[in-house]
Amino acid sequence: MKNNKKKDENRNKVIISITIVALIVALVAGGTYAWWTWVSANNTAVNITVKGMTMTLDGGGNITAQNLVPTSCTSTTYAVQRQISYSLTNPTTIASTATIQLNPSTFPTQLKNSKLMWKLTTAANCGGTQVATGTFGSTTQGRVMDLTTIAVPAGTTTPITGTYYLSIWLDSSYTGTTNVGGEVKDTIQDKSMTLQLTGTIAQNQS
């Protein structure tokens, strides 16, 4: 009796194995079998557009030649004064953060000085409230500098707009002269730099 039970079990195993193999073969063979098919009469549309954030910046006007001499942040002659306007949207479902940046695309090492400074404020010529400030003491050519960030909530379809005022100046507290022959000339003099306004907007990682 025990032997018969074992024989039945073995036989079942063989039948199952054969069935599985046959199904696999059928699956692989595919088109060689003709089956009844049915297709739906109505098609449900699936149209998806990937939504993205937008960030536009207006830097207030290109500067091709501006002289810097030791001065104060408020100088309109020897400091860079620019109005920066921004417009931000975020129609996605994830909150994002916009970062306003400066790319020092041309930056001689002689200008790497903590007395070469920048400031973002809420009014022109270094006026109003300070938003952010920093120096060019650690600046390296090509390495983007973050100025400030702006939160852009999820679902922002109406643009968030605003204005900042950027001042860049060589502070009047700068000291440092190098005598070169009969002239008093500082190594920081006669150096050009190009700063490109840029920015990114990125979804906040959760």
Partner: protein, 213 residues
Amino acid sequence: MDTKKLLGTIIGVLMFALLIVGATYAWLTLTANVTNGNYTVKTKNFIINYAGGTAITDTVQTSNATTANITSASTADGSTTDGWLAVTASKTAASAKASDFTIKLHINSNTLTTKALTYAVCKGACPTGVALATVSSGTATCATGVVACNTIAANQSNKDIVLYTDTQTFNVDGAVSSTTYNVYVWLDAGTIVAADIGKAFSGYIHASATQGD
């Protein structure tokens, strides 16, 4: 289930979980569209091209301090006095404007017992045939055409005195033509006393300028 199978299952589940978790780290990051945002600036230089003139090693004692007397009076050894020097200065167009240009006399040591040592400064040529300054009781009065004059106090050392400050010439953008300031030095005959004989003055002329706005 034996240990190996259990371990394999756990590893498989973990890897699947990692795959799912990893697949969710794809966040949107976009670059801003920027206009009018290129700023090219240059640090200006501040160079005053300067020549301080020839050293003064001797000067005349006179109460009639004309340019001729100061520069050509004969001395006992047959030389002529040379109580005069010319300071010249200019700046380039690329140089920031200065708010002033100052000529100074640094006194190393002045052992004269009186204010007999007198100076006069002219911007350009000094008037000829007239005393550049007249001295009375230690106070100098400048002649017309002399921009600065004064007597030098006695018994001083290690001190700067301002001979003349020009607040106009270098206070412009652009190039400044070479400008000459003539400095004359003499001993006023009406002030000097016997106690001054053997006394000496030692110092030097120098100049400075401050960047303006």
